[in-house]
């Protein structure tokens, strides 16, 4: 941990240097203090930079009870196959993602990982920038959530941690309810490159139930275009769902109260890419194979499910 502590100081210095350090860069008030704008940008920058030391095992441990209550009572979570995850060392956990901006699969799986391996095992989750800059961002960072980027993930894997990535991310969580049982990574194959670069195994993690926590209607691509959000705010989608308490929820920016759908998570066998595909695997081939394997697993989980929400 001492080494990590040294890392923090170095990273803080690095950040300061990258941000310019000098408050005059973005303006200062009459007393030479950084301006509000400067402080805002600094805060955003800080939240998006992966400082692995922000993960706080004691904090996680003390908050597991709340996660356990939510996962056990509200979502009746069931996680199978945790023993398939290598006992130690870096590993890339690749999951499908559901539930709009409130993603129960993350709550259930993060709890399962932390209780199964103990909070002592370093475990990071990659999340969209919007999540980390939101008010819950600082809370999540202590849980080990870092902004989704190749650099951040590499940093965590190189440090020997387990990393959870949802390649479909913000796209997949808003897929319409009638596509609930479909793996949709939208062609994002960066996770394959990440696993190859870092030389780590991939463990697919397939969950079901998250897309039953609301009625998801559309990604809202046309709506975003119609409202010119793509030009004004660079928003290519504006998802729409029917959920509590808003009823019609456009954008899902404030989240929603998820319906108590049963969440089942299945951990699959680890895949060593070079062992299976040779020294130079084709990224497209690996992507196609892994998404296909995960689709088969999701279809199997869907076949087990008798009723929506009830499970």
């Amino acid at each position: 941990m001492a080494e990590s502590g040294a890392g923090t100081a170095a990273q803080a210095g690095e950040r300061e240097s990258r941000n310019g350090g000098d408050p005059r860069d973005l303006g200062a008030d009459a007393f030479g203090r950084p301006s509000l704008l400067r402080r805002f940008f600094d805060e955003v920058q800080n939240r998006l930079t992966a400082d692995l030391d922000d993960r706080d095992p004691d904090f996680i441990r003390e908050n597991l009870s709340l996660s356990w209550l939510i996962a056990s009572i509200w979502f009746r979570g069931e996680v199978r196959g945790m023993e398939r995850i290598p006992e130690e060392g870096p590993v890339l956990l690749v999951g499908n993602h559901s539930g709009g901006t409130v993603t129960p699969d993350t709550i259930v799986f993060t709890l399962a990982f932390n209780t199964y391996f103990g909070v002592e095992r370093p475990f990071y989750q990659l999340a969209h920038n919007l999540v980390l800059t939101s008010p819950v961002g600082p809370y999540l960072r202590r849980f080990g959530t870092v902004a989704a980027s190749h650099e951040n993930a590499r940093k965590a894997l190189d440090a020997g941690a387990a990393v959870l990535v949802y390649p479909g991310g913000d796209w997949e969580v808003n897929r319409p309810s009638w596509e609930a049982n479909r793996i949709d990574f939208a062609g994002r194959s960066g996770f394959v490159k990440l696993a190859l670069d870092a030389g780590v195994q991939i463990v697919p993690v397939v969950s079901i139930g998250g897309q039953e926590t609301a009625i998801f209607l559309t990604h809202g691509e046309r709506l975003a275009k119609l409202l010119r959000l793509d030009r004004l705010l660079r928003l290519k989608t504006l998802p729409v769902n029917l959920s509590l308490p808003w009823v019609v929820n456009v954008g899902d920016f404030l989240g929603h109260l998820p319906l108590p759908a049963k969440i089942t998570v299945q951990v699959m066998e680890p895949i060593d890419l070079r062992e299976r595909y040779g020294p130079n695997p084709s990224r497209e081939q690996v992507y196609a194979d892994i998404t296909s394997l995960m689709q088969d697993q999701l279809t199997e989980l869907a076949a087990e499910r008798r009723l929506p929400i009830v499970g």
Binding site: R61, E62, S65, A71, S72, T115, Y116
Partner: protein, 152 residues
């Protein structure tokens, strides 16, 4: 939170002691236990460590535990090293007619868990209590079968 279960076993204390101190038996007779692996070189006795997990609600909960008390054919107690705070104790007492009184105590919680921690402990209690009751019945059945086999 503390749970206590008792059972009377129609077998000598030594047989019960041998059964509850053998780590390989735990996944067999403890209901809901998903793991009870020896961690380290010591198989049993004071200082032996085990990595244990028990399914509670949505998660496998447990951690690394260590045997902290060892009075042969009497008491064996463990305490958590990592994971959820826990203490467990087997307390065996001879009843004089070849039978053995078995007490199992299990205390658990999360220091610093606050109100959610207190609620979680209470929510988990009925399910854990039921499992330990069944586990003691499993123990009774297994040891009594051994006793019959030994006397035959």
């Amino acid at each position: 939170m503390r749970i206590e279960q008792k059972v009377t076993v129609d077998a000598p204390r030594r047989l019960v002691w041998d059964y509850v101190t053998e780590p390989a038996n735990y996944p067999v007779f403890i209901e809901g236990l998903t793991r009870w692996d020896v961690a380290g070189d010591k198989h049993t006795g004071l200082g032996a460590r085990y990595r244990m997990l028990i399914r509670v609600g949505a998660a496998d909960v447990g951690g690394l535990i260590e045997i902290v008390e060892w009075q042969p054919e009497g008491d064996m107690a463990w305490s958590s090293v990592t994971g959820v705070d826990q203490r467990g104790r087997w307390r065996l007492r001879e009843l004089g007619d070849g039978r053995t009184r078995v007490n199992f105590r299990f205390a658990y919680g999360v220091a610093g868990g606050g109100i959610p921690g207190l609620i979680a402990e209470r929510v988990a209690a009925p399910s854990l209590s039921r499992r330990f009751r069944l586990s003691l019945l499993n123990l009774k059945r297994a040891v009594e079968e051994q006793a019959v086999a030994a006397s035959a």
